[in-house]
């Protein structure tokens, strides 16, 4: 099972985690999600602006559902990084507060941090911004369960 363990070096970890943003995870791929950066228990994921993601055609603002997917994906990656190994996870719950409307034609960036993991459950928080972390679009809190292998 050693090949499920993430490499020690950052480039190797990034490369391995980026697989979840390829067509291995079809919906992440369909939305165009990109893993931008990682930390020891942190993932930064970008959702590029696209016309097909618009939830309100009059304002051009991206649908909340796409933001939910962005946050779910970023949080899942943060848990994997915290655990240091690729392991099946399920999202138990996700709470999202929408702090301000997203600006159209600008990518959304989620920064998720797994701040606690136990034998079975991992706790994650995330912020979504559009380039300025001090002016976030959304904040989120999620819990994930680690599945037995």
């Amino acid at each position: 099972m050693s090949d499920f363990t993430l490499p020690e070096d950052k480039a190797g970890r990034l490369e391995r985690c980026a697989l979840f943003y390829s067509d291995i995870v079809p919906h992440n791929h369909a939305l165009g999600l990109k893993l931008l950066d990682i930390g020891p228990a942190e993932a930064t994921v970008e959702l590029p602006y696209a016309d097909f993601l618009v939830g309100n055609p009059e304002t051009g603002v991206i649908a909340g559902g796409a933001v939910t997917t962005l946050i779910d994906a970023a949080c899942g990656s943060a848990v994997i990084l915290k655990l240091g190994r690729i392991q099946p996870l399920v999202t138990l719950d996700l709470r999202i507060d929408y702090l301000r409307p997203a600006r159209p034609h600008v990518p959304l960036i989620a920064v998720a941090e797994c701040y606690r993991s136990t034998r079975q459950v991992a706790f994650v928080r995330a912020l979504v911004h559009q380039g300025d972390k001090s002016n976030p679009v959304a904040s989120a809190q999620g819990t994930f369960m680690r599945l037995e292998e």
Partner: protein, 152 residues
């Protein structure tokens, strides 16, 4: 932002669809619901949302299971359509917060959702939503969401 004073094209469309129940006109006008295959249907006199299965909704190819985000999207869309079509709100309600509980993994098939407005105030509406696949008594996800309605 559209001018709050003049009725927008979307508001006019919503107004018409409330009467004609030709829900496809509304869901087709929203790019994201079209992309996701989320539609509103009247089944046995009840307004439901259906997310038609396509392979691009998959999050885990090995099980296979729907991406959790797609269930969140269906629940949130369902709540918005319930508010748009069953109340007199003139504009698209803005989501304040949403909490999603994932109860079972979503299989590679169509998913249904039904929203219930638990409270509708002048400015804020509370909505509860459940999603299921084969068996309505075994929901696969549920949500409660808060929306800011347009100022009266």
């Amino acid at each position: 932002m559209s001018d709050a004073k003049s009725p927008s094209v979307l508001a006019e469309l919503v107004h018409q669809v409330r009467k004609t129940r030709d829900y496809g006109r509304l869901t087709d006008a929203i790019p994201y619901t079209r992309f996701m295959g989320i539609g509103v249907e009247n089944l046995a006199g009840e307004m439901l949302c259906r997310m038609r299965y396509t392979p691009k909704l998959i999050g885990n190819s090995f099980i296979p299971a729907l991406h959790g985000g797609t269930l969140g999207a269906l629940l949130e869309s369902s709540a918005i359509f319930e508010l748009l079509l069953q109340t007199e709100t003139p504009r698209v309600p803005k989501v304040i917060s949403v909490t999603v509980d994932f109860l079972r993994s979503g299989k590679a098939q169509d998913t249904f959702a039904r929203a219930f407005i638990t409270r509708q105030g002048r400015r804020v509406a509370n909505v509860r939503v459940e999603a299921w696949q084969d068996d309505r008594t075994r929901p696969i996800a549920s949500a409660h969401a808060l929306f800011l309605l347009a100022e009266p």
